[in-house]
């Protein structure tokens, strides 16, 4: 955490994420849908692991019940 290129930005983000995730939970939205992790550009395996782990968490939750219908599917 203390290795942010911009010194403190990630700490600031972490604090906001803490609040937001609990607010989502309060409003009945699974807080696991929001996740913040810090992975540097030199940590490819960690990044892949994080994303795969997150996918494993998200898949069972399914699409958000609040998702709006969009028609952005790639041709």
């Amino acid at each position: 955490m203390s290795e942010c290129n911009y010194l403190y930005g990630n700490y600031c983000a972490e604090k906001r994420v803490t609040v937001l995730s609990q607010m989502l939970d309060f409003c009945g939205i699974e807080k696991d849908r929001l996740r913040a992790r810090w992975v540097s550009s030199a940590e490819a395996p960690e990044f892949v692991e994080e994303i795969n782990e997150f996918i494993d968490v998200l898949k069972p939750l399914g699409p958000s019940p609040l998702k709006k219908q969009t028609s952005k599917d790639v041709a």
Binding site: E3, C4, Y6, Y8, G9, A75
Partner: protein, 557 residues
């Protein structure tokens, strides 16, 4: 109104260049299909697939299209912006397009590399990333680069081999240097070293360099002096130095941090007593004074390193241990020398050869397991020899502990004063380990020597020279030109709540009492975006990363 402002009112005409990167990208995804898709995106008027967009031919294509197709935005889908953004954006500028109207999409790292072997997925993802890049580019605004003056003077903090080397090289270039050393002598850690790993005496090397540095008219030397304060910004740092003759205030263009590191004193480890169990540095002293009386010496590597509290490898102790073992063996061939190690890390082919030479000289190496470390008792070291599965007792009259270099106790204070980061071990953290190893993220401040990470004298010297060239690249320009990717505060909507002020790690924001708003010093601003994230009314925004630009990008995802 200049031409750049007009672009804001024109319909975006976006050109997309999809790079095959030979087979690097095209080998793993369908670039032709991606290019066809890009043609269907809003505001895209021109699409070109290149074998190598970064080649001369590729660049000519971009320039030709900007003029011929009247493009006012350019998107290149290729490799990493870290390496190639400057090339492409400056090419745009050469063709008369503001370089900030360029956007890059990384379909090599993010598509062909990570989805190798999944051609359809990689192609699909490339399309989506390009769609996002195109959406963002439509909202890009032209920016003017920021210029400021430069002071052609350099502050070097630390008079060890790294700082001395930097000062020497900078002096050769004709710059003025202020060399500040905390202790009364120059030379740093190398003063304690007997012989160099490359052969030759450390003292001889040092005195040659120190004499040279002290004889230069453009190097002002301060010993027993401490840098008290640093303010200002690249090209115009304001510094205060506490010297023996009182406080000195001055202005410098760049700052070099060469404050070094210190060897760990292995108190409480392996029965360390400074007499029969000593540290590597104490052995160097003994060799220097030539009062080695021991008959059987055991080196224990990684003493106090790679442990729970100090996880890192100090890099140079294996080499120093072997170096000293060889010096002992050469001078006193009858001394029995054993080295107990966990892994030998002899960095570089030369040093690897040194290990073989050491074995050839009859120095014995034995591996030990950190879970079952050697025990030092009176006149004896016992350890578990894994090949034989036996506990071996070695009679010994001198144990040498190879201890790591650790950050100086005042490193956090220096980091704090300069507003530069340290890593999890407390060493100074460079901007990028591979791409910018001697720079700090903060412009105009550089790092060399063991303050950054344990370094041999050769490495510290090389880094010092490297830093000198980094500094020269800045200070020999006529003026400072800085990226326009900085934050701006809209004076119309700012309510002066000062929330951004406390959030700026670079102290680039000040409060204007008369106008009751916050203002940004563009030279100090590093474009981190903390203020933009904090501002409740979107008054602080980061150029090139404005909410509408990012939201357009996200919206296209």
């Amino acid at each position: 109104m200049n031409m750049n402002d007009l672009i804001l009112y024109e319909e975006p005409r976006i050109g997309v260049f999809v790079c095959d990167c030979g087979s690097n990208i095209a080998g793993h995804l369908d670039c032709a299909d991606v290019a066809e898709y890009a043609k269907t995106l809003p505001n895209v008027v021109y699409v070109k697939e290149n074998l190598y967009t970064c080649s001369e031919a590729g660049i000519v294509e971009i320039k030709k299209a900007i003029k011929g197709q009247n493009l006012n935005r350019v998107v290149v889908a290729s490799c990493s912006p870290r390496t190639h953004q400057p090339l492409f954006s400056s090419s745009c500028a050469e063709a008369g397009l503001n370089p900030y109207l360029f956007e890059m999409v990384n379909i090599r790292d993010q598509c062909s590399w990570v989805h190798m072997g999944k051609r359809d997925d990689a192609t699909q993802k490339a399309k989506e990333l390009i769609r996002m890049g195109v959406a963002k580019s439509a909202g890009l605004e032209p920016q003017e680069e920021i210029e400021s003056s430069l002071v052609r003077k350099v502050l070097v903090m630390g008079g060890g081999i790294a700082g001395l080397s930097a000062a020497q090289a900078l002096a050769d270039m004709g710059l003025d240097i202020m060399l500040v050393e905390k202790t009364s002598n120059f030379g740093g850690l190398l003063q304690q070293v007997h012989q160099l790993d490359t052969g030759g005496s450390a003292r001889a090397l040092l005195s040659k360099i120190i004499d040279d540095v002290q004889s230069r008219s453009n190097i002002t030397c301060y010993t027993k002096a401490i840098v008290k304060e640093t303010g200002g910004y690249i090209g115009n740092f304001e510094i205060k130095i506490d010297t023996q003759n009182g406080l000195i205030k001055d202005k410098v263009g760049c700052i070099v941090v060469a404050t070094g590191a210190v060897p760990l004193i292995p108190k409480g480890l392996f029965g360390y007593d400074g007499e029969t169990v000593i540290s590597l540095m104490e052995l160097e002293q003994k060799l220097k004074k030539d009062d080695l009386t021991a008959r059987r010496i055991v080196f224990i590597q990684c003493a106090g390193a790679r442990t729970k509290e100090r996880e890192y490898c100090s890099r140079i102790c294996c080499m120093i241990g072997v170096k000293n073992a060889m010096i002992v063996k050469e001078k006193y061939p009858l001394i029995d020398v054993r080295i107990l190690y966990r892994d030998m890390q002899m960095y570089g082919t030369h040093k690897e050869q040194m290990l073989w030479d050491a074995r050839g000289k009859g120095i014995q190496f034995d591996v030990y397991n950190p879970d079952n470390p050697p025990e030092v008792k009176e006149g004896k070291v016992s350890f578990f020899q894994s090949i034989t599965g036996k506990i071996i007792d070695l009679d010994t009259d001198l144990v040498v502990l190879s201890t790591p270099l650790v950050p100086r106790s005042d490193a956090p204070a220096v980091a704090n004063m300069m507003r530069v980061p340290t890593d999890q071990n407390g060493f100074f953290l460079e901007a990028h380990a591979k791409l910018r190893p001697l720079d700090f993220a903060a412009d105009g401040i550089f790092v060399c020597g063991s303050g950054r990470y344990p370094a041999t004298s050769t490495e510290a010297r090389t880094q010092g020279l490297g830093v000198a060239s980094r500094v020269a690249a800045i200070l020999f320009k006529d003026k400072l030109v800085k990226s326009a990717i900085v934050a701006k505060i809209n004076p119309e909507s700012c309510v002066g709540c000062k929330a951004c002020l406390t959030m700026c790690p670079y102290e680039a924001i000040t409060y204007n009492r008369d106008k009751r708003i916050c203002e940004i010093n563009e030279i100090l601003c590093k474009g981190c975006g903390n203020c933009a994230a904090t501002c409740p009314s979107h008054s602080a925004q980061l150029c090139g990363y404005k909410p509408e630009q990012l939201l357009a990008q996200i919206g296209a995802a």
